[in-house]
Symmetry: C2
Subunit: 248 residues, 2 copies
């Protein structure tokens, strides 16, 4: 469990409640307000089957690691539905898988996979260009991964086009961890050897595939940015903004 | 689902969050504060096995009928545990089964079973003393039922003696609906015939037994008030306070 479950709960649930209630009240003066809330895959139950869709969200507790954050996000999904039910508000929610990109966390210890790899490889390229880079686990687990710009486009699309009770699941193409590391290393121009430490570090879940068929049905023409392009654009931003990015 | 799920959620979760956070902050000036929060059996998943104990609380969604109230009570159970974890607060929760008694709801349409029966039989005894009274279903479902005074005593006991992470389940002895109706009719002195309408009205769940073994282990000497005594005392209060009770 997170070391500060109370803070995660109070901060997040208070924000959720205040934003939705404010949007509901404001629209009584000014006409309808659309709200697109962003959930997280942490809300899925820890024993969910793959591919995960929106139906089993509440069929068991989430992972303990981010329990109170997960419950605050679950309550946001529910509150969205309750505003639709009680007040006929046009509130919806989107449930995105892993994403990466500019303006995110690049601290190697806390950043999501792609951003952490970019920061580590850029640093090593500068300071120790031929040393091997050790990654945790075997590199074989699969992860769906999406460029943050695509998620932003989907949020804008949902503003205009999505109006349903269920959270809309969106996720990028699925790659193995080692494929993703390979792509980052090519784009960074990192020449060190990638090695995997499977003796002292375990793999996480081997797969965590979300079912994106509903989004594909509703928005069939949407083209996700190719992973190599997303990585390239993120590196371009990172190189210019490195000092700011690492202060986070 | 309740017609006002947003209101139930916002009112209850805001109260829960504010009371626990206030208790936590106040104790930094004045020494430790104990909080005993009261949950409800609505938090159990709708497909729970009997006897219900505290372990499957989150193993599935609660009944839709009181969904947002149930989620606010679930979050109270969790927040209690998170304050214990993050701030070492001596916060606990009690999960009571059905109870009845003075100062409660006596509106025949909304009151819990015993109070509703008292109000109906008292009214019929006054206005139509020999007419039959029709009850919904077969009368055979079993319900644990507890005098509110006993619950109050247990809350006071828990203030001094309970200090654990899990909600403490407390519930009264188990009777069938028809046994309970028979006892109320004896205490009211209602002479009409009790009949059961199983053609147009269905029974609710046949059993909803909560596992009270933990409470019995911790407080083995506690004696619940006999049901007939609890009913008698509630009727005494109701007769004196009828007009006030029915205004609720």
């Amino acid at each position: 469990m997170s070391a500060k479950p109370v803070d995660f709960w109070l901060n997040n649930v208070t924000m959720n409640n205040n934003v939705l209630e404010a949007a509901f009240r404001f629209q009584t003066w000014n006409g309808p307000i659309k709200v697109v809330s962003i959930l997280s895959t942490v809300i899925f139950p820890k024993n969910a089957h793959f591919p995960i869709d929106a139906s089993p969200i509440y069929d068991g507790p989430p992972h303990l690691a981010s329990e109170s954050y997960a419950y605050s996000k679950r309550s946001l999904a529910q509150l969205t539905q309750w505003y639709r039910k009680q007040h006929k508000c046009d509130f919806v929610s989107i449930l995105p898988g892993n994403f990466f990109g500019a303006y995110g966390d690049f601290n190697p210890n806390t950043a999501p996979l792609v951003n952490a790899l970019i920061a580590k490889m850029e640093s090593q390229k500068e300071h120790n260009p031929t040393a091997p880079l050790t990654m945790m686990g075997t590199g074989t687990p699969l992860r769906q991964i999406m460029f943050a710009y695509d998620l932003a486009q989907i949020v804008i699309w949902a503003m205009e086009n999505y109006n349903a009770n269920e959270p809309l699941i969106v996720a990028g193409e699925e790659f193995s961890i080692s494929q993703i590391a390979q792509l980052v290393s090519e784009q960074v121009g990192f020449n060190g050897y990638l090695q995997f430490d499977n003796d002292t570090k375990n793999d996480g879940p081997l797969r965590r595939t979300a079912d994106t068929s509903q989004f594909e049905r509703l928005n069939p023409s949407f083209q996700m940015t190719p992973l190599s392009t997303g990585i390239k654009k993120t590196i371009e931003w990172y190189i210019i903004n490195k000092s700011k990015a690492l202060q986070k």
